[in-house]
Subunit: 220 residues, 2 copies
Amino acid sequence: MPRPRSLTHAQLASAALAVIDRDGLAGLSMRAVAKELGMSTMALYRYVDDRDQLEQLVVELVLGEVDTEPPGPEVPWRGRVEIMVGRLRDSVGAHPEIVPLTLTHRHRSPAVLRWSEVVLTILADAGLRGGQQVIALRGLLGYVIGAVQLEHLGSLSAPGTVAISALPPDRFPQLSATAQRARRIGADQEFSGGLDMLLRGMAEMLADGAGLPPDGLPDR
Amino acid sequence: MPRPRSLTHAQLASAALAVIDRDGLAGLSMRAVAKELGMSTMALYRYVDDRDQLEQLVVELVLGEVDTEPPGPEVPWRGRVEIMVGRLRDSVGAHPEIVPLTLTHRHRSPAVLRWSEVVLTILADAGLRGGQQVIALRGLLGYVIGAVQLEHLGSLSAPGTVAISALPPDRFPQLSATAQRARRIGADQEFSGGLDMLLRGMAEMLADGAGLPPDGLPDR
DNA sequence: ACCTGAACACCGTTCAAGT
DNA sequence: ACCTGAACACCGTTCAAGT
């Protein structure tokens, strides 16, 4: 008589995320997750092929919470992009330890695909042409990924910025002055300031039709 | 009679980098590096406190090759930023497996500090004010980091893009159309297109003095 | 002082065995 | 069918010992 499955993928993912939130990404192991669930290590392999797939489940648990409902058309396109980017950043930012996992597993995540689809729709709506859309989407994704990592690593009690503040001002005049100022700028302000830079650039590209490849890549 | 040191830090770093270039970052281990050098594993601990410090040496070996000579003033400031960003991307791009290491060890790298100092000088030269400089520098660093990772992961025989091309066009119309086009856009074009977006945004910020925090953060 | 090898506490995963 | 525990081939690092 077949015993019923005692575990769902969701429970597995939650247990793994709990381990990560408690002990960091370095603390994630098949053994740790099994202990978290009160099962033997090998029992996990009933539900998952290998560690890689467990990681995929964690990524999907976190990214699956990103609201991918398109913002209303009454919001200007730049505002809509800001909303979508903000949602992604908030979800990942709530579990910054998983950032390295999202990088490796991003292409397989339905949530990221849905998110990308909505952002592309907004960009197309705004009037960006084919080649520009690709560049803009990768630019946005690249910015979010990079910024979240800088933020996460740079703010572990900000060892970087503190160390930089202590640099010899004669050899690094700009850097030490900037580090002083950087401490007064919050992470949110930094993030939205950089995003603003990107969006301004996009709007300008839109205005003068730049960003097309030199050979005049066709639009479809 | 004290034996002479048989190893320099540079040799150690080269051996580790050789392991990484051959077997990937996952193949890096104290044992692997020791074997590469023909020594016992524990001999490495004569030269390095722990694995973390070995990684730091690798990062410095790669980033130390970045030319941080400021480009001549005859080049417009945007061009100078492009040159500096390009140098960083080229060095890291030559050993993409180390990207995760640069993230963790970046704040301790003299090479990155020198690079940042030069870029900040260019930005100050261009007329960006204090708060804007911080945002612009982090924006640039974030973009490079994110873009290099997307490029590296996304181009391992491009499993992501290929998978995306195979998506059901009815559920992901924008994405599948975009994936088709993305295959015709080279990595360099993507990178410089995104960078161009950022630089346009910076130039615009410069023009109208935006990016200052709401409370009017003073310039020094 | 430099280098070694055994040992400890960890990994992911395979495999044979229990219910 | 579901779950277990021993075992294998790995880690980083400590420690005592050799030259």
